[in-house]
């Protein structure tokens, strides 16, 4: 009996040793994640569902456009419903150079003018949701320059094989800016899409979990259709559902402008 137990333990340990030897390097996996094709431009509807700890639901319907200019990109989000946020819009220019701050504007219909807002704090939550400005900007990718990566193990998420990569912010300043001290990324072993990510706050406490539930090809581009966030500190949840995703219709440059924000989204 004792010999059987020792044999089983030896095989399990050896298997684990062999498996960890086979797991790719964390930085290499992240590199593959960041190389996923996004399309030169995209137009899509976005439904936001926000649920507080008591179960109260708020919903927002928006339409957004994104377009790459080289490695830089512009994104605009127009709020369509409900009435109390209708015609609010958010415009951001994200620069690939990490040394250049992103430029952001918010148009509030009640003010009748656009307001320049600072982009310094990437870890701030985006307009009442549980996604941060960094989450919105990166769209499922990771700023590799902010972290060190280590492959931890392999497991499953929603029936898909994933590789777990631990991401540690390179220094305290980056951790404070991002709002978390550690992240665990559950990356699909075949498609290299992040299916789940868990975050711990700067004090090491559970912060939030982001799970991508629906992924499919649209115009040959891997597209996330439903993303859920659970904030463990506040009990608040956010679900983003993307629909009518269109990578083929060219997005006009003029949509990313003050004029466009003041006009609002008109069909």
């Amino acid at each position: 009996m004792k010999n059987h137990f020792m044999l089983i333990t030896f095989v399990a340990t050896f298997s684990t040793f062999v498996s960890s030897q086979e797991l790719p390097d964390g930085a290499e996996i992240i590199d593959k994640v960041n190389q996923i094709e996004e399309g030169a431009y995209v137009t899509r509807n976005l439904h936001m569902k926000l649920v507080d700890r008591r179960g109260k639901v708020r919903e927002r319907h928006t339409i957004s456009m994104r377009k790459y200019y080289g490695l830089d990109k512009k994104t605009i989000i127009f709020y369509i419903t409900p009435t109390n946020v209708k015609d609010t819009s958010f415009l951001t220019i994200d620069y690939a150079d990490s040394g250049i701050d992103d430029d952001q504007w918010l148009y509030l219909p009640a003010m009748r003018k656009t307001r320049r807002i600072s982009s310094g704090d990437r870890g701030d939550y985006f307009l009442g949701t549980d996604f941060t400005y960094e989450d919105i900007k990166k769209e499922g990718k990771i700023a590799a320059e902010d972290y060190t990566f280590e492959t931890v193990n392999a497991t499953e998420v929603d029936g898909y094989d994933v590789v777990v990569v631990k991401a540690l912010p390179k220094n305290e300043e980056v951790a404070e800016e991002l709002g978390h001290s550690m992240a665990e990324l559950y990356i699909d072993a075949e498609m290299f899409v992040i299916r789940k990510s868990k975050y711990w706050d700067v004090n090491g406490n559970d912060l939030k979990t982001i799970t991508t539930r629906e992924i499919s090809l649209v115009n040959d581009i891997l597209t996330r259709h439903r993303i859920e966030v659970e904030n463990h500190k506040t009990g608040h949840q956010t679900t983003f559902t993307f629909s009518n995703v269109d990578y083929e219709t060219k997005v006009d440059d003029s949509i990313f402008s003050e004029i466009s924000m003041k006009r609002g989204w008109k069909q």
């Binding site: 708020r58 009435t83 109390n84 870890g123 709002g179």
Partner: protein
């Protein structure tokens, strides 16, 4: 004005020619607002406002109309049958009775093609970077029924205008504005809760003096009395900038008082003016810096001589503003502005100081995923020491229902711009239902 109205109507009709695909949306907003004077405990405001907004899309054009129905139960803000003498005939509200009014708030057609955007009709237009202080934000007049306490979106008076925006390239744009609508600031009449009494704003006329005649000389020609403006604006290397010019009438009437043995003859006129200026902003880290300047060539200023005689003096006036916004703390917005104005060719009898300074400070904090917003705003005249403290808590109970509670506290010398309302401190409650 009639020709202009026909042109607008024709443009709208053309856009609505049958056969074009049409999409519509309707939104409604209901506001119930109450205020109690802290000095007297009496209700100083009790009103209900209903605003439906219609949007019709036809091809490349969009037609937007916003209506307003308002009923004021206490009738303190605009008591009696107000004459609306500052409004043009096409911008006057339809007074149902002394408490209720119906208004076509906005009606405009948006046309957007390639690099040009045209908005024609009754609309609001906003220039400038300043919050709450108006240097370049002079395109639309304002209703001062609640002084500056109401949101600008509510107090700004939309005007019949032509607004053309054209892109020159991806960094530079131009804007041209023509406003034939000769509507100006709505100044509260005698007996209103927020009637002006500061000598900076109105000549000091004792209440026991008999006013024999009141004559209002208001511009009315849509071409020769219209306002014409232009702007170049853009964004480059992280800087946003704007150069502005407008040839317009000052929205505040100049009051001249002529004394006779039997009483006073009061004449109200409007003054032509050129306003030239610009604005900028840039962001660095957690900070945004904003600046704005405006030079008015023909501003008027009231004086009082040693014999107590009041009059006005015309001269240019330069205004400058610098503001900083800080968003380095989660869910917190901090903003401060320093404003300064200087009167050219100053004379000692002028009531307003040669150089006038004002300081504002705003602190806003959000809670519960931005469903609870608390803010406090301080506005202070550094010259006279008077000011206003405005605080508000807003709770978004649901996507349709918003509840607000606020405090408006005036302080300082009763001759000051803000101190004149020292007896008008109030607590406010509001409910907004939108669907």
């Amino acid at each position: 004005m009639i020709v202009f109205k026909l042109l607008v109507t024709s443009a709208i009709f053309f856009a609505l020619i049958p056969g074009h695909a049409m999409a519509s949306s309707v939104d409604y907003s209901l506001d119930i607002e109450t205020a109690f004077n802290l000095e007297s405990d009496a209700s100083s405001k009790n009103q209900i406002t209903f605003e439906p907004e219609f949007t019709h899309a036809v091809g490349s054009a969009d037609l937007v109309s916003i209506l307003r129905f308002r009923h004021e139960f206490e009738n303190m803000l605009e008591p009696g049958q107000h004459r609306q003498s500052s409004r043009s005939s096409l911008t006057k509200r339809n007074l149902i009775n002394s408490h209720s009014a119906f208004e076509l708030r906005e009606l405009y057609l948006d046309y957007y093609k390639d690099d040009m955007f045209i908005r024609i009709g009754k609309q609001q237009m906003v220039w400038g970077e300043a919050d709450g202080i108006k240097l370049l934000d002079v395109l639309n007049p304002q209703s001062f029924r609640e002084f500056i306490l109401a949101d600008f979106n509510d107090s700004r008076i939309p005007l019949w205008s032509v607004n053309i925006n054209k892109s020159i390239n991806d960094q530079l744009n131009t804007q041209f504005i023509y406003i034939p609508d000769t509507t100006y600031h709505e100044i509260p009449e005698r007996g209103s809760a927020f009637e002006f009494s500061s000598p900076v704003l109105v000549p000091n006329v004792p209440n026991n003096q008999n006013i024999l005649t009141f004559e209002s000389k208001k511009p009315a020609d849509v071409v020769f009395d219209g306002d014409y403006g232009a702007r170049i604006y853009g964004f480059s290397n992280g800087w946003e900038f704007s150069l502005n010019y407008i040839y317009h009438y000052l929205d505040t009437p100049k009051i001249s008082v002529q004394e006779s043995l039997l009483g006073l003859h009061v004449i109200s006129t409007y003054q032509r003016n050129h306003t030239i200026g610009g604005s900028f902003n840039f962001a660095i880290g957690d900070w945004v810096v904003r600046g704005e300047s405006a030079y008015k060539t023909n501003q008027f200023h009231y004086f009082e001589d040693s014999n107590g005689k009041v009059g006005s003096f015309d001269s240019g006036e330069l205004s400058l503003l610098i503001g900083v916004d800080f968003q380095g703390i989660n869910d917190t917005f901090v903003s401060s502005q320093l404003y300064a104005s200087r009167i050219n060719h100053y004379q000692q009898q002028i009531i307003k100081d040669e150089v006038d300074y004002q300081l504002t400070f705003l602190l806003e904090r959000k809670y519960l995923n931005e469903n609870l917003i608390a803010k406090i705003l301080f506005i202070n005249s550094l010259n006279t020491g008077d000011g206003l403290v405005q605080s508000e808590v807003k709770y978004l109970e649901s996507d349709s229902l918003t509840l607000t509670m606020g405090l408006d506290i005036f302080h300082g010398n009763d001759k000051g711009l803000y101190g004149q309302f020292d007896q008008n401190d109030r607590i406010t409650f509001g409910l907004n239902y939108s669907f």
